[in-house]
Symmetry: C2
Subunit: 152 residues, 2 copies
């Protein structure tokens, strides 16, 4: 396909979030809503996962979606049965301590459960393709431009 015929397929996502205090918020996107909160020990009311837990869940869900799509495109016998994540974070910067630590997770470890009859080379090729095409993973492993504005 020449560049002249390569059309942009860019989409814009929009969501609104209403806050209910310093920890709790309701995120609204399309016809869905979900609650972000914090445990009581962290000053919240524990009515939902924390923001960083949703971040990890987004990655887990995206491994399933992208992995399933790639398996279909490769026409291989491979099903994602589960995605487990462990991720380390140092809250020192978040709480305002004098620290060189970064604010976010590093590293994140993902274990993908598979039901497959394919050989190891095929699974390795599937994994590489899944990583290359995974939107949430891309936003984590490569820098993303995030611009802030305020209204008052």
């Amino acid at each position: 396909m020449s560049d002249a015929h390569r059309q942009s397929t860019k989409k814009t996502y929009r969501l609104r979030t209403d806050t209910h205090g310093p920890r709790k918020a309701t995120v609204r996107v399309r016809d869905h809503a979900f609650t972000v909160d914090a445990p009581e020990a962290s000053g919240g009311t524990d009515e939902g996962p924390t923001p960083v837990e949703y971040l990890l869940g987004a990655l887990a869900g995206c491994v399933n979606v992208t992995g399933s799509r790639v398996a279909s495109d490769m026409d291989i016998d491979l099903t994602v049965t589960g995605v487990d994540i462990e991720a380390d974070i140092d809250p020192a910067r978040f709480v305002g301590a004098d620290t060189d630590a970064r604010a976010g997770f590093d590293p994140i470890r993902v274990t993908v459960g598979l039901d497959t009859t394919e050989d190891e080379a095929t699974v390795t090729a599937w994994l590489a393709e899944m990583e290359s095409r995974n939107p949430v993973l891309d936003n984590l492993i490569a820098p993303t431009a995030v611009a802030f504005g305020v209204t008052r």
Copy 2:
């Protein structure tokens, strides 16, 4: 504080995700669970937001949590009333097209609604500190190590 007395405050998060087909999954973290799905037009059953929508919601929730904490630490009169996000994404790489486009969002635009009596310089200082201490933002703007393994 000398390095010798600077103790690690690192925490490890863990979550498990069960899949229910190529689009739908249930993420379990602590005592919470949430459903990831896709619209019917994308092959899902639309029982919940998509992974990339949770990613944006995680950022919105983290702007509220971190922003509220920073306002409290700065002892200023500033409340986050809402967080709106718009983000552009090109699905070309996700669907396997021949493309140079990245897989994830770029850019992400965040508008923070504020109720505050503080002057513009104070709001600007608050915003800079919120950006510096925001865990989800840090994982988006700076590269994060993500390691994959499979079990079969």
